[in-house]
């Protein structure tokens, strides 16, 4: 694990200097059959290291488009998107794959565990595509989310909440600076929602930057800041408390 240092955003540091994600006039337009749709329109905002941001908005508001770009799965058609200081537009597809493996940890609503791999192997899969597998580290990651005792179980043998915890362990294994959670509690019952919410709180406290898409107001309330989307337009809520965590 990389060292995580909690510090304050002081007067000498601008938001831009601490930004781990920075969008400047970013738009994403889809064209097809002679028509074009602007799914994201002139978005400008930044997320600083250690911040927990909730992205909210109704269906079709551009949440998925924004998340795809923040997850390096898509690129803007206009504007500049920088993640950890790197401009995504300048990267080749292979560089983008590498960058994604290094910088982003995905937590999905539907967990997306490979059905024929055990919980441990699912975590190791992220290591495999990142660099090299290390069973000890993978086990430690599962222990961290309270799933060490279920390491050898297949996804079909796990409950929804357990699968989501494995998904979180997988997202954490390569120690990425950004966790991108897309409706992380959308498929869970109340008890498991609470477990996952607590896990995310812990991760935030230890300095992780969390970008979370959610429809759930309770989950959104856990974030320091909300970014609301409507018809592709971004509305940033004011920056919350002064304390943020910086990961070095």
């Amino acid at each position: 694990m990389a060292e995580v240092v909690t510090t304050s955003l002081n007067e000498n540091q601008t938001r831009a200097e601490c930004a781990v994600i920075a969008l400047e006039h970013v738009s994403r337009e889809y064209t097809g059959r002679g028509a074009s749709v602007r799914a994201l329109d002139d978005a400008t905002f930044s997320i600083v290291a250690g911040e927990w941001v909730a992205i909210t908005g109704p269906s079709g508001s551009g949440k998925s488009t924004l998340v795809n770009m923040l997850g390096c799965l898509d690129r803007p058609t206009a504007g500049t998107l920088k993640i950890d200081g790197a401009d995504l537009a300048a990267m080749s597809p292979t560089e983008l794959d590498r960058f994604r493996a290094d910088k982003i940890g995905f937590i999905f609503q539907q967990f997306h565990l490979i059905p024929y791999l055990s919980a441990l192997e699912n975590v190791m899969l992220a290591q495999y595509f990142h660099s090299m597998t290390d069973e000890k580290e993978a086990r430690a990651s599962l222990e961290r989310v309270g799933m060490g005792h279920r390491a050898q179980h297949l996804p079909s043998e796990l409950s929804g909440g357990e699968q989501q915890r494995v998904c979180i362990a997988r997202a954490l294994i390569n120690n990425p600076p950004i966790l991108l959670a897309d409706e992380p509690t959308g498929n869970l019952d109340q008890a498991n929602q609470k477990i996952v919410a607590n896990l995310l709180k812990d991760l935030h406290q230890t300095g992780h930057t969390i970008v979370m898409v959610t429809h759930d107001p309770e989950m959104a309330a856990l974030a320091q800041r909300k970014i609301a989307l409507s018809h592709g337009k971004v509305f940033c809520h004011p920056i919350g408390g002064p304390v943020v965590s910086l990961r070095r």
């Binding site: 998925s64 998340v67 795809n68 997850g71 799965l73 898509d74 597809p93 292979t94 794959d97 590498r98 994604r100 493996a101 290094d102 995905f106 999905f108 609503q109 539907q110 997306h112 490979i114 059905p115 024929y116 791999l117 441990l120 192997e121 190791m124 899969l125 992220a126 290591q127 495999y128 595509f129 990142h130 597998t133 069973e135 997988r170 897309d182």
Partner: protein
């Protein structure tokens, strides 16, 4: 414990066992049929020529009467692989006064060349005769078979009847020694059987004509040309069958592989989201395909070899042994089928959009 490409593929194949099994079955069928046909194809010439040899001679040499050492000359010119059988002919009269053609032959040589001749028993003792079944009607007493040639009466004992369905049925065959002692005539016809196909026969014809200029050397046209046509047609038929089967299996494998990619789009999308490169995705999919193709070839080669053996045994009454040299060809064919069938699914992989797939759209 290490997670490797091999272990991911192994788990994936076992997990989707019915899909894997159907792809493996298609590949096995393809390899099996290709092995059987190629194995038979490789030994087809030998087997068909052997079958055609049972129809008799493919060259006939005719010489004027009293040509010295005719049989030896022909044998020398025809080559060591050729079989030869000299025939000497005379017209004698039976005890009923009916003229009949009597032939002096070398019985072991005739049996070797004319293997379709059916005799009750072949003469082995001196003064024994093989009587054609039609010729038997011209004889009053076969036990003391009295024949007269140029006023010389000679008595033979019938060893058995001959049935060929041809002119031979109207003749009487005796040994060359008995014939020479009785008629003082030497062979005027030599039947030659050249092993191999039309090219070998043509070559032997050239040699015989060159070395024996005073003799009439003629091929048995119907046999040589018929053999050539049948061998060519059989080759074409087998080629066509291999292509047709390859095409059918290719379509079946394409359907299986496409379905395999389609049902795992989310797995591949996830791998891509986790940082898997296009190359790694392709490697995973193509290696899986190659593994299935190779396993199909191994199983198919064994089954195909067994099928070739059974077909050969049933149709040609000789075993065709497994041919390891067919294996690279079958492997190449199956890999080509798998590669072509994998092209479309591989293209689908390259256009995967992880974001929408993982979102469940």
């Amino acid at each position: 414990m290490k997670l490797t490409l091999g272990s991911i593929i192994r788990r994936s194949l076992i997990h989707r066992r019915s899909r894997s099994l159907s792809a493996l079955t298609a590949m096995t069928v393809s390899a099996g049929v290709a092995t059987a046909l190629l194995t038979l194809y490789a030994s087809l010439d030998t087997k068909l020529h052997k079958e055609f040899r049972s129809f008799g001679a493919n060259i006939v040499v005719t010489a004027p009467a009293n040509t010295p050492n005719l049989a030896e000359q022909v044998k020398k010119a025809a080559g060591p692989e050729a079989l030869t059988a000299p025939f000497a002919y005379a017209v004698a009269t039976t005890d009923r006064g009916t003229p009949v053609v009597v032939a002096g032959v070398d019985f072991p040589a005739v049996r070797a060349i004319d293997s379709t001749w059916q005799a009750d028993a072949w003469p082995t003792a001196p003064n024994a005769a093989l009587v054609g079944q039609k010729a038997a009607n011209f004889i009053a007493d076969e036990r003391t078979l009295a024949l007269t040639f140029a006023g010389q009466k000679q008595t033979f004992a019938s060893a058995g009847h001959l049935r060929t369905g041809g002119d031979e049925d109207s003749r009487i065959y005796i040994s060359q020694a008995d014939f020479a002692g009785w008629t003082h005539a030497s062979p005027t016809v030599v039947e030659v059987q050249i092993p191999g196909g039309a090219p070998q026969v043509e070559a032997a014809l050239g040699r015989l004509r060159a070395q024996l200029p005073g003799l009439e050397v003629e091929p048995v046209r119907q046999l040589v040309e018929g053999e050539s046509r049948i061998v060519d047609k059989t080759h074409a038929l087998m080629f066509g069958a291999v292509l047709l089967i390859a095409l059918t299996v290719g379509v079946s494998v394409l359907a299986t592989l496409s379905a395999s990619v389609l049902e795992r789009r989310r797995d591949f999308a996830l791998m891509k989201a986790l940082g898997g490169t296009q190359l790694q995705m392709m490697a995973l999919f193509l290696l899986e395909t190659v593994l299935l193709a190779s396993a199909g070839v191994a199983t198919g080669w064994l089954l195909g070899s067994a099928a070739a053996w059974a077909i050969s045994e049933t149709n040609f009454h000789t075993a065709t042994l497994p041919r390891p040299q067919v294996l690279p060809l079958v492997l190449l064919l199956n890999l080509a089928i798998a590669a072509m069938a994998a092209l479309l699914p591989a293209r689908a992989l390259s256009t995967l959009e992880p974001a929408s797939l993982l979102k469940g759209e």
